[in-house]
C-alpha cells in the first residue's frame, strides 16, 4: 500500500527562490506551494517581481538560488521545452504567419503528438468557442478571439500547469470581465492549475482561489480572496487590495480577547481585537485597517471619531464620502437608497464609527 505523501497534491513548490539582476533582487527568497487544480494569482504593482517569478516557473529565467519543483521534481535547471508547462503571454505571441488551426496545433506537432491531432485541435477550439475559425489568419480576428486562440494553443498539449502573464491587460473593461468569467469556467472544466499574473486587484479577487500579494520581490501575503481582503497582514496588502482606511494608534489596554487602542491625533479610544489576534502588547504601536463599506456615519457625538464631509461621489448603489478627521482623511462608503435620506452636504459635521469585528490590526 502506498504511503500517503502529503506533498502529492502539491503541483508546484517554490522554495526560497531568489533572482537578482545586476545585484538587484527582482525576486527575493520566495516560498510558495500551489495545490493541484488551484487558481492562484500573483498580484502586485509593476516591478514587484511577479512576472520574473512566472518566467522562472516557465524556464525563461533561471533562479539565482532556490528550487522550483513540479510534482515533487526539481525543474529549476530544465529548458522551457522540457517542462510541459503551458503559458499565455502578455502580448499573446500568436504566430503571425500561421492560421488559427496551425497556431493551436503547434504544440502537438512540436511534441510529435500528431496522432489524433485534428480532433484535439477542434476540441480546444470548441472549448474556447472558436469553431469555424480554423482557416482565419491571426490578423483577421478580434482581440478577444486572439485571446481565445492563445488559450487554446496553450491548453492543447494538456499541461498540468498553465501560466498566464497579464493576458487580459490589453482588452477593454467589458471584454475583460467577460473573459475573466470564461477563463474561470475553462479552468474549472479542465481542472488545470492556473497561475495568473495581474496588477488588477479586482481581477485577482474575482477569479482566484488564492492570491499571493507581491511587493518588492517578496510575497507579503498568500491566502484566499476573502482572507486577503478582510484580513490584510501588512499595510501594503491593505492598501493594494481594495480601498481602505488606515489609522495609527497605541495599545493602551490589553485584556483577554479585547484590547483598547488610542488613536493618534484624536485621543479617541477604540476597541480592537486582542489576545491571539493582537499584533502588539500594551504600549505597542499598531495600525488598524477598516474598509470604507464598514464605516458607519452618524450625527455628531453618535460615534467615537468626529469628522467633516470634504467631498462625495455617487456611483449607483453607493455613495463614497471623503471625510476629514483628526485621525486623518477617511473614506466611507454607504448604501444609497432611492427616495431615502439626502446625501450629506459638503462641510457637514458627522461622526465616524465601525463594528468592532471589521477592524484588522497590522503591525505598525
Amino acid at each position: 500500500m502506498p504511503s500517503h505523501n502529503p506533498s502529492s497534491d502539491l503541483i508546484l513548490q517554490i522554495e526560497a527562490v531568489t533572482k537578482t539582476f545586476d545585484a538587484n533582487p527582482a525576486v527575493d527568497c520566495v516560498d510558495l506551494d500551489v495545490r493541484r487544480g488551484e487558481f492562484v494569482t500573483l498580484l502586485g504593482p509593476s516591478g514587484c517581481g511577479k512576472s520574473t517569478l512566472l518566467r522562472m516557473i516557465a524556464g525563461f529565467e533561471t533562479p539565482t538560488s532556490g528550487r522550483i519543483k513540479i510534482s515533487g521534481r526539481d525543474i529549476s535547471r530544465l529548458a522551457p521545452y522540457d517542462r510541459e508547462i503551458g503559458m499565455v503571454f502578455q502580448n499573446l505571441a500568436l504566430f503571425p504567419h500561421m492560421n488559427v488551426y496551425d497556431n493551436v496545433a503547434f504544440g502537438l506537432r512540436a511534441r510529435n503528438r500528431t496522432k489524433g491531432m485534428d480532433g484535439k485541435v477542434r476540441e480546444m477550439l470548441s472549448l474556447v468557442g472558436l469553431e469555424g475559425f480554423e482557416e482565419r489568419r491571426t490578423g483577421q480576428i478580434s482581440g478577444g478571439q486572439r485571446q481565445r486562440v492563445a488559450l487554446a494553443r496553450s491548453l492543447v498539449t494538456s499541461p498540468e500547469l498553465l501560466l498566464l502573464d497579464e493576458p487580459l491587460s490589453a482588452l477593454d473593461l467589458k471584454l475583460r470581465r467577460q473573459l475573466q468569467v470564461e477563463l474561470k469556467r475553462i479552468q474549472q472544466e479542465t481542472g488545470i492549475t492556473f497561475i495568473f499574473v495581474t496588477h488588477d486587484q479586482e481581477e485577482a479577487l474575482s477569479m482566484s482561489d488564492r492570491i499571493a500579494v507581491m511587493n518588492a520581490g517578496r510575497v507579503e501575503q498568500f491566502g484566499t480572496s476573502v482572507e486577503t481582503y478582510h484580513h490584510p497582514r501588512t499595510e501594503f496588502v491593505a492598501r493594494f487590495v481594495g480601498e481602505t482606511n488606515l489609522l495609527k494608534g497605541v495599545i493602551v489596554e490589553s485584556e483577554g480577547a479585547n484590547a483598547l487602542l488610542e488613536l493618534s491625533g484624536t485621543g479617541a479610544r477604540v476597541p480592537v481585537p486582542g489576545g491571539a489576534q493582537s499584533v502588539a502588547g500594551q504600549g505597542g504601536q499598531v495600525t488598524i485597517s477598516i474598509r470604507p463599506e464598514h464605516v458607519n456615519l452618524g450625527a455628531p457625538d453618535e460615534h467615537l471619531v468626529p469628522a467633516r464631509v470634504r467631498s462625495h461621489s455617487f456611483s449607483g448603489a453607493t455613495i463614497t464620502y471623503t471625510l476629514d478627521s483628526d485621525a486623518g482623511p477617511l473614506l466611507a462608503q454607504v448604501a444609497f437608497k432611492a427616495g431615502g435620506a439626502h446625501p450629506l452636504a459638503v462641510g457637514e459635521a458627522v461622526s465616524v464609527g465601525w463594528p468592532q469585528t471589521s477592524v484588522t490590526t497590522i503591525p505598525a
Binding site: A58, G59, F60, A79, P80, Y81, R83, E84, I85, G86, M87, F89, Q90, N91, A93, L94, F95, P96, H97, F106, G107, A110, R111, R153, S154, T157
Partner: protein, 258 residues
C-alpha cells in the same frame, strides 16, 4: 506653388534618360542616336543571339543570386545578434556594416584590388562574390533588422513553452516571422549586385565579366544600339523586381525609423 513645380520637374526629369535609352533601343539604324530613325527589334535580336552577351548575362545572374543569398543569410545572422541577443556594441557594429554606403566606391575598388590580390582572388568569380556581398550587405541588413524589431521576441518563448526545441523554433517560427524582411533583402541585394558597375570595374578580369561592366566597355569602344537594348532589358528587369516588392511586401522598410 514653387515647391510643387520643383517636385513635378524632378519627377519628370529623373526618369527621362531611362526613357531615352529605352526608346533608342528600338532604332533600326546601325548607330546609337536619339530621336530614332525607324523602329525595329533588330538590336534585341543581336543581344539575345550573341553567345558573348548571354554568357555575361549568365555570369551576372548567377553572381547576383549567390551574392544575394550570402548577403541575406549573413545579414540575418547579424540582425539576430543585434536585435535578439542585444549584442554588446551592437550600434557600432551596425554602423560598420553600413559603411560601404558612405565609402567612395573608387576607394572600395582600390581596397578590393589589394585585398583580392593578396587572397589570389583578383579577376575570379569568388572575388566578385566577396565584393558584391560587401556592397549589398548594407541594403540587405536594414529590411531584416526592421522585420526582427517588429516581430515579438515572445514568439520564440511561446514556441519553447509549447515544446519546440531551438532548431524547430528557428525553422518554424523565427525564420517565417522574418520572411517579409528576408524577401526584401534578397531581391534588393540581387538588384544592387546585378546592376553594380563602379567597384566591379576594378576587380573583373579577362576570365570573368559582368553584364553592366560589359555594357560600359562596349560604350567606350562602339556606340552600337545593342547597348541600349541591353540597358533597356536591365531597366525592365529591375523595375519588375521593384514592382513585385512594392506590390507584395512594400518598400516602407527603407524609409521607416528603427
Amino acid at each position: 506653388m514653387i515647391t510643387r513645380l520643383i517636385a513635378l520637374s524632378v519627377l519628370l526629369i529623373l526618369p527621362l534618360p531611362i526613357v531615352i535609352v529605352v526608346l533608342s533601343s528600338f532604332t533600326s539604324a546601325g548607330y546609337l542616336s536619339f530621336p530614332i530613325h525607324g523602329v525595329s527589334l533588330r538590336w534585341y535580336g543581336e543581344f539575345l543571339g550573341s553567345a558573348d552577351w548571354l554568357r555575361v548575362l549568365g555570369v551576372s545572374a548567377v553572381l547576383a543570386l549567390i551574392g544575394a543569398f550570402v548577403s541575406t543569410a549573413a545579414s540575418f545572422g547579424a540582425a539576430w545578434a543585434v536585435v535578439r541577443h542585444r549584442m554588446r556594441f551592437g550600434a557600432t557594429y551596425e554602423t560598420i556594416l553600413l559603411t560601404p554606403l558612405i565609402f567612395p566606391h573608387a576607394a572600395i575598388g582600390v581596397i578590393m584590388i589589394v585585398t583580392l590580390s593578396s587572397l589570389g582572388w583578383l579577376g575570379t568569380f569568388t572575388g566578385l562574390v566577396l565584393v558584391h556581398c560587401i556592397l549589398t550587405i548594407p541594403y540587405a541588413y536594414r529590411p531584416i533588422v526592421a522585420a526582427l524589431r517588429k516581430s515579438d521576441p515572445a514568439l520564440e518563448e511561446a514556441a519553447a513553452s509549447l515544446g519546440a526545441r531551438p532548431w524547430r523554433t528557428f525553422w518554424t517560427v523565427s525564420l517565417p516571422a522574418a520572411r517579409p524582411g528576408l524577401v526584401t533583402s534578397f531581391l534588393f541585394s540581387f538588384i544592387i549586385s546585378f546592376d553594380e558597375v563602379t567597384v566591379t570595374l576594378f576587380v573583373v578580369g579577362p576570365h570573368v565579366m559582368t553584364l553592366p561592366v560589359q555594357v560600359f566597355s562596349e560604350v567606350l569602344e562602339s556606340a552600337s544600339p545593342v547597348i541600349a537594348a541591353v540597358s533597356a532589358t536591365l531597366v525592365l528587369f529591375t523595375t519588375a523586381i521593384v514592382f513585385v516588392l512594392d506590390r507584395f511586401i512594400g518598400l516602407q522598410f527603407f524609409v521607416e525609423r528603427d
